[in-house]
């Protein structure tokens, strides 16, 4: 199975919302060099196809349609800045851009902005998945605590020993400690106090 270079952008699709014709032609040409397909975003029209990245001109902001905002939430966003005023930056920050470019555009910078956007999106996704996992574990702490207390009470053991019993039972049954704890709390079925 061949693996493309991590810095090769060939075959990716970009949704491009740029007003200025010159800037748009620079983006088109540079994307062609990089092997990226361009999908032009008509703001008043519906867009069904999936893009890997969106370039959006700050002149299109603020986005009023919920559909447009939802569309931007599906892939990394590169913001095209025409002005650095805080009011404009505030509008851009609402899009949570992964990278940015400053107008007027040059070919230089576009490749780096794309690579950074994809990397940023990848790392943000990893962090999000990690947060979800941690939140699940946090929620199940109450169950683990309840199970530990139950085992401490029924087996007359201290907290470390009770936890060790639950962990061993979980390992034997190939379950997570959280799943084992949920069963103990729900069914009252306790691991045997052996060993």
């Amino acid at each position: 199975m061949s693996k493309p270079s991590s810095f090769s952008l060939r075959g990716r699709k970009a949704l491009v919302a740029i007003k200025d014709e010159r800037d748009l032609s620079i983006v088109r040409r540079q994307f062609e060099r990089l092997g990226i397909d361009v999908l032009t975003w008509e703001l008043d029209g519906a867009l069904g196809c999936h893009a890997d990245v969106t370039l959006i001109d700050d002149e299109f902001l603020p986005l009023t349609s919920p559909t447009q905002r939802a569309l931007l939430g599906q892939c990394p966003v590169i913001a095209l800045l025409g002005t650095e005023t805080p009011s404009r930056l505030k509008l851009l920050l609402e899009l949570d851009p992964a990278s940015f470019l400053v107008k007027p555009l040059r070919s230089a910078g576009i490749y780096a902005a794309l690579v950074m956007a994809f990397e940023r999106a990848e790392r943000t996704n990893e962090l999000r998945q990690q947060v979800v996992k941690l939140e699940e574990r946090l929620r199940s702490r109450r169950l683990v605590l309840a199970a530990v207390l139950q085992v401490m009470h029924t087996h007359s053991v201290a907290e470390p020993a009770a936890f060790a019993l639950i962990r061993r039972a979980a390992m034997e049954q190939r379950k997570t400690i959280e799943q084992m704890s949920a069963e103990i709390a729900a069914k009252g079925s306790l691991p045997r106090a052996t060993g």
Binding site: S5, S6, S8, L9, R33, G35, S107, Y111
Partner: protein, 371 residues
Amino acid sequence: MGREILKSALMAVDEINDHPDFDFSLAAHVRDPRGIISEYHTVCDDLIRSAGVEHIIGCYTSASRKQVLPIVERTDRLLWYPARYEGFECSDNVMYVGASPNHNVLPLVRYVLDNVSRHIFCVGSNYVWTWETNRVTRELVTAAQGSILAERLLELGESAVGHIVDEIVRRKPPVVFNTLVGSSSYDFIRAFHAATTAAGLNIPMLSCSLCEPELKIVGPASAGCITSSAYFESIRLPENLAFVQRWKARHGETSSPSVDGQSAYVAVYLLARALQRAGTSNIGEVRRAAAGYRYNSPQGPVWIDGGNNHCVLTSRLAVSNAQGQFDIFWESDAPVKPDPYLTQLDVAVGPAREKLKDGSSPSALHLRVVK
């Protein structure tokens, strides 16, 4: 190397001015930034504002090109950049006449992976050319289940190479990739040759930059280096035989053209031919006229790819010999399309076999043996 580029560019200017096919003459305004990076900006500013220059031929390092770039873009001039470089740039105001990374690094590393070893010891100068060459090498080597045994970097101009040579003799890597430049490279090659000979080792060395004038500087120790380049003095094309003859008549029988010098010569010809075709020196018109306009140069047919302003050219591999020349053993079977962003690089995929409509090969290389 700057002097080699200047000598070659001026030779081309003189030829064009004497040639009946060109109905104009070129006026060369020479400035010497002396390799001082900050001087390039000043010198180009002067060329454009005071001398009214429209086309600039020069720059060797990427650092110097980056200094010139903002001025040529702001004033809409054209820089004809002759040197091979690491890619990842594409300005409308630069014509990149030298090799792109897919022209030299890729064929060299692929050849080594197929024929020498999958384990490479890298030594290079601590700057962008080495960093990027090593990155690409690492991607190719890793995809082939090989390894980079070491990546040793020396500051530009550093001559203390002994500790790296000692490490090579101790570890006996199957192959060494040398991306050192200038005097560091010469010192390293001499020390490497002496130490490996004394130890009875036969370790091949690789290079993407070694050229004939450097072989003369280094001496006999430079023999045996597997080198990737678009130009060697030993190319047996009639255009090159005539070029070398003219070169020696102008610069002396013992003198040799270099790849970057020859590229500057090609750059002047590409410019002159585009000027002739466009009928004007207007930058946009010249750029359009240059795109796809084939020139049978000393290194073979070349032309500018209108999509990215880089040169379509033939890749070659050779081994340096004891006579200060290169024995060419492989070359691409057609001029290769430039791929400055290595967009077409698929590290695990072998060479493609198809040809493009314009007669060039796709950037993935296929090579043939040259007798």
